[in-house]
């Protein structure tokens, strides 16, 4: 049966796609939202550590599955191999309705003014593609606010003296600190830093018809058993569906965007849950597959006008793959500091985001989420024995005495860290897979060392008797914070989309996800992706003239 033509196709029901689908559907456009995964629930996985989206020795509970999906990973030594989703070099986020927003840690950061003006603030960094965004923090501010209120954020709007100007408080009060949070918070204060409660996409009070968080220890990596975590799956996507204008098609793998002889997108080709191929046509196509898969889909969409893939005539699609170099330190305390008030992370300091002598960018530091027992077996000072009685003694003695301070360092984008499509390897449906290659910019290591030093200082001040660092910043980036592969910009020669996420030279093809990020901020990225979704969704809806979408 032939699919009925619709106004808009949104590909990917994650952070960006969920928001755009809702914005368009409530504005009256007919929408089909495609998702390769399915709905997932807490009950299917509960709080099983081996079935978490953070630690997944078997498979990713929130997708994608090992059977049908794969990528090619090119290591630092040039060796390449096929990787499956449960392996770390796959650089996964998630694949389900809501994607990462179901199982995330839910930190809800706004980037700062300077995060949108990295080139202006720091000048050229050798070997990098550091650049300003084509939009400013002020452009995005109203959309950050929408994300905070429509999806739901708990926080103290006066907490961070370094944040950029905001118009409204958060809709919910902040979470109180747990025991180790309080100890580290006090220490950070004593050394002159400015700690404050982390804004969270979690209900601190009843909100939007869903209950308050009851602070269990397992949260990040899992769905919420009482639905107190706020993602696109329990906010904007249900609203889109209730509008009557949006159909959600789950278990559908989109293979290609079709581009016609006029350089316009006419629709997509996809496979349904029974592997049957279909075509869906639309007036507008929006890609929100997250940075790796968005680049792959663009590159796999070849046409006469775009022989190297949609929007790729200047070879910028898939370039500048970024994520975050996570870095920090851990410490063992004399007394127990663990009180089982989850999920752990509760304060942050913004002191190391910008304006630190000699540091380009920087990043936020937070106390970390609780480490569950299996993952804890790897949390050791350098040289510690991994097994035998010493192992057991360490676990028993220190499980409630260790705390870590960590954060995402803003990576310096580089042109050679990239997604291409592999010339040979194909997935279950015969679609060429993503191939990841390149490395982080060497500067990231310096920035990470700076942040790890600061993290260790806080732990020591708090009374940790043994401390050690885990310094990030090497290898290829991507992963849960993947971004940058369809950079927005004013110059079509050095970017993939314009400042509204519209692919250069294809008037009715948009991108709305982390791929757009010119730089990825020194913060977890999801609130910025949601804000971009509101901003792009509104732009499309406003400029919609009831027919083709070709006007500039």
């Amino acid at each position: 049966m032939k699919n009925k033509h619709v106004n808009a196709i949104v590909i990917g029901a994650g952070a960006g796609g969920g928001v755009v689908a809702k914005e368009l559907a409530v504005s009256g456009l007919s929408v089909v939202l495609f998702e390769r995964g399915d709905w997932v629930t807490y009950d299917a996985h509960n709080d099983d550590e081996l079935m978490s989206q953070r630690t997944h020795p078997f498979e990713n509970p929130f997708g994608p599955d090992n059977k049908r999906h794969r990528r090619v990973f090119v290591g630092q030594n040039g060796n390449e191999r096929i990787v499956l989703p449960f392996e770390y070099p796959f650089n996964n986020n998630a694949a389900c309705v809501g994607s990462g927003t179901v199982s995330y840690g839910a930190m809800a950061w706004r980037f700062m003014e300077k995060d949108f003006l990295m080139k202006t603030s720091y000048g050229h960094v050798e070997g990098s593609t550091l650049e300003d965004w084509p939009i400013t923090y002020q452009d995005l501010e109203p959309y950050y606010e929408k994300a905070e209120w429509e999806i739901g954020v708990s926080g103290d709007h006066t907490g961070n003296p370094f944040q950029s100007v905001r118009n409204m408080p958060y809709p919910m009060p902040p979470f109180a600190y747990n025991r180790d949070g309080q100890i580290l918070y006090d220490a950070a204060k004593r050394i002159g830093l400015h700690p404050f409660p982390i804004p969270m996409l979690r209900n601190s009070v009843r909100y939007n018809g869903r209950p308050a968080c009851y602070r269990m220890r397992t949260c990040v990596g899992f769905a919420c058993p009482v639905n107190a975590k706020c993602g696109t799956h329990n906010t904007v996507i249900p609203i889109a569906l209730q509008s009557g204008n949006c159909e959600l098609r789950t278990n559908c793998q989109v293979a290609e965007v079709m581009i016609n002889e006029k350089g316009l997108a006419t629709g997509i080709k996809y496979f349904d849950e029974n592997d049957n191929g279909h075509i869906q046509t639309a007036d507008i196509v929006i890609i929100s597959c997250a940075a790796v898969e968005t680049a792959r889909l663009l590159l796999n969409s070849k046409s006469r006008l775009f022989p190297e893939g949609a929007g790729n005539n200047n070879d910028w699609v898939g370039r500048n793959l970024q994520g975050h170099a996570y870095t920090g330190a851990s410490g063992i305390f004399e007394d127990e500091i663990y009180d089982d008030v989850g999920p752990g992370a509760c304060w942050a300091v913004g002191d190391f985001n910008h304006d630190n002598e000699g540091i380009v960018g920087g990043g936020v530091l937070c106390n970390s989420f609780f480490t569950p027992p299996y993952a804890f077996t790897r949390l050791r000072p350098p040289g510690a024995k991994q097994w035998g009685l010493e192992h057991k003694e360490f676990q028993r003695k220190n499980y409630k005495r260790i705390s870590s301070v960590r954060g995402p360092f803003q990576e310096i984008p580089n042109f050679d860290a990239r997604v291409t499509v592999d010339p040979e390897v194909k997935d279950h449906w015969g679609i060429p897979v993503a191939r990841l290659s390149g490395q982080r910019h060497e500067y990231d290591r310096i920035g990470c060392q700076f942040m790890s030093d600061r993290a260790e200082e806080i732990l020591r001040e708090a009374g940790a008797i043994t401390t050690w660092q885990a310094v990030g910043g090497r290898g290829l980036s991507g992963d849960q914070h993947q971004s940058g592969t369809a950079r927005m910009g004013n110059d079509p020669k050095t970017s993939v989309t314009d400042k509204y996420g519209r692919v250069h030279d294809i008037d009715n093809l948009f991108v709305a996800d982390g791929s757009l990020h010119v730089t990825n901020g020194g913060f977890n990225p999801v609130l910025t992706i949601m804000a971009l979704g509101f901003y792009i969704g509104e732009y499309i809806a406003k400029n919609w003239n009831g027919g083709s979408f070709t006007s500039k």
Binding site: R215, T218, D340, F376, G388, K400
Partner: protein, 190 residues
Amino acid sequence: MEVKRREFIRQLCFACGSISLIPACTSEISTWRFLTADEAKLIEAITEQIIPADQDAGATDARVVNFFDRQLIGYYTRHQETYRKGLQNIESSSLKIFHKNFVNLDWDQQTEFLETMETGELPEAEWEGNEQRSFFRMLLDHSMQAFYGSPRHGGNCGYVSYKMLKIDYPHVIGQNRYPSENGNTNLKAS
């Protein structure tokens, strides 16, 4: 508070449908699924070295070997050959060095053997086609998964590792900080 908590457990059981308070690992195993009886004994001896019993349960008490057997026909089917070969390599190395099977070595000999394997210094001739250090790392990692993971995967019988770490289980106990009447999260309740 106590009443409320019990009520909550009851609701949770309803919500999850099939929460069984008797972990699957306690049912007796008459036959192994993948392992031979000798392989099972060998894994039990190795994993008991990795996580020995002391004042708290060790790998044998936690039925860690059951996890290996289950996962080798489940998620770790792809490791079947590595295990089959690797366990043989361990036996032949042990016979070569001590003229005894690994399970019959003294405790300290076993420890020394595994330390040597960890650093890749067992006689290479016995390890053709397999890498001793990476096999050791795999045994170590899977032991930790078995001992600290959920009992539903075959190990951590009776949540013994959680008891050792003094973390509450069933998890619901940690949830006494339950939203109070006015909908606020009551942090002081614990």
